[in-house]
């Protein structure tokens, strides 16, 4: 059945800035009489041609014709716009989101009602069950879009700076509930799935704010529900933000202190024979001072519970041990001839003291006393430049529960693990260096350092 009554006018899904005209007309151009107007709230009380309850006007009204509206329990306010009575055009300024409703008697005596939707005035339906029709109006009378969850954060931040994310509903008139807030944070090669405490019910128009220090690049998602048009809608919202980790200078995380001579240490005291192997020098690498690590933990906000390093510990000076045997005055040194000539038990020319002096210089170079690039120290330093452990430490994030001290210790352990992992690799390089450099040193002497065999 074609529509016979239509109502056009301004949007009423929000308070209107100024009065505007709402016009009621018969589609066939026929005359209308007994025109009455109302303003109904809330706007969710839609009337788009669907069958809806009709309620008679309560006393003292004697108007007996039904007005299309929800029963008392479902409506908030119905105000009759008496100043517009009998007029087909009503100039009105909606004070809030709601719906303008009109009713009239057509030329053929039928009484019909129409209303403006929240989005756009439209209408055409009636007490006699006429349905909405007319192409241009039908589109305007589509149901309003369902509410959505809006989750918003700044797109980027720097570690340690405050970041605030907000959670709200697109329809500020509805109460909604958030049952789940999840975080997936990434930093370096680590990723963390964290479930934050959910706020539960949130009042209409209210905003749930999560504010705290930014720690790691984060994808934040939330789930909830809202009651809308008689049904429960599931809500999902998500957003993400990027966190810049640490200043670039941490790329250069190397030893700032030259290696320290630490006496003979555990070197061989008297390199009598080669059979047991004689350790003339040692390079002893020290781990960073992880026990003095300083960390911070986000107590609030979208990165709540994540800890990060605020102060990167230094690397202590490596220690170098050289056997006293290769220094003048030591019995082993002094046992070597001044002049070339003597052979050892194996019939090999024994090095002179002068050659042992050469050996000492080479041993110092080999371990790193002279900071040479072709030394254990030089290899270590070059390795540190290459692996950028500082960037790793700066990027390192941990999701550990416990007291600040427990968190610090756990993070120190994690960093020590990484150090050890890299250290094991460096050790292979150091061993390869020994395998190449030591024979070359000995060959350059042209004699045996051993007195016996």
């Amino acid at each position: 059945m074609p529509a016979v009554l239509q109502l056009t006018g301004e949007r009423t899904d929000a308070p209107m800035a100024a009065p505007a005209d709402f016009t009621l007309s018969a589609v066939d151009g026929g005359l209308l009489s007994n025109v009455r107007w109302w303003f109904m709230q809330p706007m969710a009380n839609t009337f788009n041609g669907d069958s809806i309850p009709f309620v008679r006007e309560p006393p003292p009204s004697t108007f007996t014709l039904p007005v299309p509206r929800y029963p008392d329990a479902q409506r908030t306010t119905v105000v009759e716009l008496t100043e517009c009575a009998t007029q087909v055009t009503c100039r009105y300024q909606a004070p809030a989101a709601g719906a303008v409703v009109a009713m009239a008697t057509l030329a053929d005596g039928r009484v019909l009602g129409a209303r403006a939707t929240p989005a756009l005035a439209c209408g055409v339906a009636g007490v006699s069950g006429l349905r909405a029709a007319g192409r241009s109006l039908a589109a305007a009378c589509e149901p309003p879009a369902p509410p959505t969850l809006k989750l918003e954060c700044p797109s980027s931040s720097t570690r340690g700076e405050k970041i605030a994310c907000e959670l709200r509903l697109s329809d500020a008139t509805l109460v909604f509930s958030v049952s789940e807030v999840e975080v997936y944070a990434t930093s370096g090669t680590s990723g963390f799935s964290i479930v934050l405490s959910a706020p539960g019910p949130i009042a209409a128009g209210a905003v749930y704010r999560m504010e705290g220090p930014a720690v790691a690049t984060t994808r934040l998602s939330a789930k909830g529900t809202v009651a809308w048009r008689g049904q429960t809608l599931n809500l999902v919202g998500s957003t993400s933000f990027v966190v810049k980790e640490r200043p670039r200078e941490l790329d250069e995380y190397v030893m700032t202190l030259a290696p320290k001579a630490d006496g003979p240490g555990r070197t061989t005291k008297f390199p009598s024979t080669n059979r047991g192997g004689s350790t003339l020098g040692l390079y002893r690498r020290q781990p960073p001072l992880f026990d003095s690590l300083q960390i911070a933990t986000a107590a609030t906000g979208p990165n709540r519970g994540l800890s990060y390093v605020v102060s990167v510990p230094g690397i202590p000076a490596s220690l170098i041990n050289l056997t006293f045997a290769i220094f003048p005055g030591d019995p082993w040194y002094e046992a070597h001839p001044v002049q070339p000539g003597p052979l050892n038990d194996a019939g090999v020319l024994i090095c002179t003291r002068s050659k042992i002096d050469d050996l000492r210089l080479q041993a110092e170079r080999h371990e790193g006393v002279t900071l040479a690039s072709n030394s254990h120290y030089g290899l270590d330093q070059a390795f540190l430049r290459r692996v950028k452990l500082g960037a790793f430490i700066g990027a390192h994030v941990s999701n550990v529960a416990g007291s600040p001290d427990q968190i610090r210790r756990q993070m120190a352990l994690e960093l020590m693990q990484e150090w050890s992992r890299e250290d094991a690799y460096l050790w292979i390089l150091q061993r390869a260096f020994d395998a190449k450099d030591v024979p070359a040193m000995l060959a350059a002497l042209g004699c045996s350092i051993y007195l016996k065999d």
């Binding site: 390199p271 009598s272 059979r275 047991g276 001072l289 693990q417 992992r421 094991a424 002497l445």
Partner: protein, 221 residues
């Protein structure tokens, strides 16, 4: 024990030195007799367990005497059971720390687990166990005796060390060492420095396991 890197490289390899100067290889039999004589003498000196400046040659020699040298090293290390002077212990340790031998390992393991052994000797035994198990680790008394139970034991690493071999370590050496450490950690009677050492041993073994499971791949340049 496939994970234990056993360095066979010798820092100053005489074979390489001889080759480099073009001198012929000495006669094997004569050398062998000489070696046996030197070893016998060195073993007698080392077994007494008291390093002496005049006899340093013996401590270097014994490392090349195989399992027989290991027995002497074991006897020497038994001095640690009652020794409380850390300077003496360091002297002993610095001469034997790179001698990977089963008898020495068993001696260190026994003292580490021995509740009536001197606490200092137990700490040094813990250090020796770690040194015998892992080529690169560089335990120090400073950290092995002072690390609190949840703190990091800052064990460094060492390059240039030459490990000599006596009798092969037991196949479960690492596990036995870990168990000894955990027994101490779970008990309540060990002195604080021994608990610290046990913590360092336990952490060192765990760290090595972790490193083996997560080998490092360097960035390409």
């Amino acid at each position: 024990m496939g994970h234990i890197v056993r360095t066979t490289f010798r820092y100053f390899s005489i074979a390489l030195a001889i080759a480099s100067i073009g001198v012929g290889v000495p006669k094997a039999n004569a050398q062998s007799d000489k070696d046996q004589h030197d070893c016998k003498k060195a073993i007698q000196i080392v077994a007494r367990g008291k390093p002496d400046k005049k006899e340093e040659w013996a401590w270097a020699t014994v490392l090349g005497c195989g399992a027989a040298g290991g027995v002497a090293a074991r006897d020497a290390w038994m001095q640690a059971r009652t020794e409380v002077d850390t300077r003496s212990l360091e002297e002993l340790y610095s001469r034997l720390w790179s001698f990977r031998d089963s008898a020495l390992f068993n001696a260190a393991h026994g003292i580490f687990a021995d509740a009536v052994a001197s606490p200092q000797g137990r700490v040094y035994s813990a250090m020796l166990l770690v040194s015998l198990l892992f080529d690169a680790q560089d335990p120090t008394y400073e950290f092995f005796s002072s690390t609190k139970s949840l703190d990091i034991c800052r064990t460094g690493s060492v390059a240039g060390r030459i490990v000599s071999h006596g009798g092969p370590l037991p196949s479960d050496a690492e596990e036995r060492t870990r168990r000894a450490a955990q027994t101490i950690l779970h008990g309540s009677t060990a002195p604080a420095i021994v608990v610290s050492a046990a913590h360092c041993v336990d952490q060192g073994i765990r760290m090595n396991e972790w490193v083996r499971a997560h080998p490092y791949t360097p960035p390409t340049r």
